[in-house]
Subunit: 305 residues, 2 copies
Amino acid sequence: MSLVVVGSVAYDGVETPHGRVDRMLGGAATYISLAASYFTKTRVVAVVGDDFAQEDTNLLLEHGVDLEGLERVPGKTFFWAGKYTPDMNDRVTLTTELNVFAEFQPKLPPLYTTAPYLLLGNIQPRLQREVRAQMNGLRLAGGDTMNFWIKDFREELLATIREWDFLLINDAEARMLSGHENLKRAARAILDMGPHTLVIKRGEYGAMLFRNDSMFVVPGYLLEDVFDPTGAGDCFAGGFIGYLAQQGFDLEADHISRGELSRAVIYGSVMGSFCCERFGVERFRTLERSEIDARFEEFRKFTSF
Amino acid sequence: MSLVVVGSVAYDGVETPHGRVDRMLGGAATYISLAASYFTKTRVVAVVGDDFAQEDTNLLLEHGVDLEGLERVPGKTFFWAGKYTPDMNDRVTLTTELNVFAEFQPKLPPLYTTAPYLLLGNIQPRLQREVRAQMNGLRLAGGDTMNFWIKDFREELLATIREWDFLLINDAEARMLSGHENLKRAARAILDMGPHTLVIKRGEYGAMLFRNDSMFVVPGYLLEDVFDPTGAGDCFAGGFIGYLAQQGFDLEADHISRGELSRAVIYGSVMGSFCCERFGVERFRTLERSEIDARFEEFRKFTSF
């Protein structure tokens, strides 16, 4: 069943201990869509400038991503550049040029408004809320946010996530949003804010899923070489919602089991791990669904006892 | 089957965000023995001064720990004091008074030398090696070490662990010992140093077990309140080796499965998590085996998919 993804489509400059790329395709909506495309029909809502390259459009099209909602306007595409610390657990932003993204007003083509699944990438909470309000017949909606919105747009953010089924954030964001250092307390406080499902991403340490009555924790996949962690969290989101959309699951319905949600967390982890294996979106040029399922089985093997 | 534990029995002063205790029972051999005592007959080799309190002796005796190898000499017992950072992932040593521990020469009572299981806590590598040489009929031997020995006693340490079946260290120590930042590469390098089994402890993030042909990873147990992480790594070691000794497993034999080792890692994680719930060894005053098995089942529940 089809999935709508809203967020940034951008160009990134990235430096890691493994090398440096001055300009390559990036952006949350790009990573989410590419990852989700292995599971379900994905429709993207984003804006790019007139510098957006045909080959980048082609990569998304080759993955079957619907680009009807990809608006093209005069000007330059959003550009971000950053440099990772030697252990790659942190990064410094070197440049943020919002360009055409500064005036982004998500516009949903009519076909999109009836999609049952919605993933709102990290953008202004008010915009996230407006998109959700345009959707009819949603079975499952949720998304991501970041420290900037948590700190300076708290009320808007709270009004936005109150209507979400799930929230996907990292551990630092969970602590900031809840005011609790301890993740168990943080999770409880966040589940009281509206979403009935919370996924906390912990980078190389894996991910946790919290609902009021259950918890699931998975360690990270141990890669031999992490080339570039950029986009890994977005690919996690794409794998998570993509799998649920593929299965046609409805988190509100009674029939969804903790096992089904847990498997969505594993598929999220799998997609995040592939993302780190090459710079930018490179890994998605060759990645096959069979590799995804094989890594899912690897997760089962190294975590079961 | 019986287990010999060698290491420090000490007094600790600990400050965490939850409080402060100026002087309480501590030391690696204390934590290892208490944790292992829930699984198997445990015999301790250590030295204390004439200030060692009867009530502390009694706690160990109540857990069935054999104290024939606990030497008492004139002078003061080893004293360590430290203070944890607010997130409790790091600590600063405030005081280290080796006292009688400075001249520690482990002496094994005759009965100890035929025990099939040996856990060498973090002491001088040469002493660890001498203890192992006194044992007859070992089925399984291994232990712990620390940054100080890795850096300044590398050759002695390498000669020592070459004879071990397993090594239990934390991630920073694994990186230092191997010279590899990446834990997969680090593990491979360490397995080439002798031990056929490596357990890397990652604190709140859990633990990993590596053998040449397999890997097992478990996330940490999510506690609502971590009162005091002191001794958690030693309790992990006690649960790990204690379970293997209880089962009578022999890592060299063909019949040991990856599942059995994985369950030992879970029991280690369980014991480490209980340790953090109270200051020092307090939790072991009331802990029952049934609670341990219940938490083991909790691990199964929150990790399976």
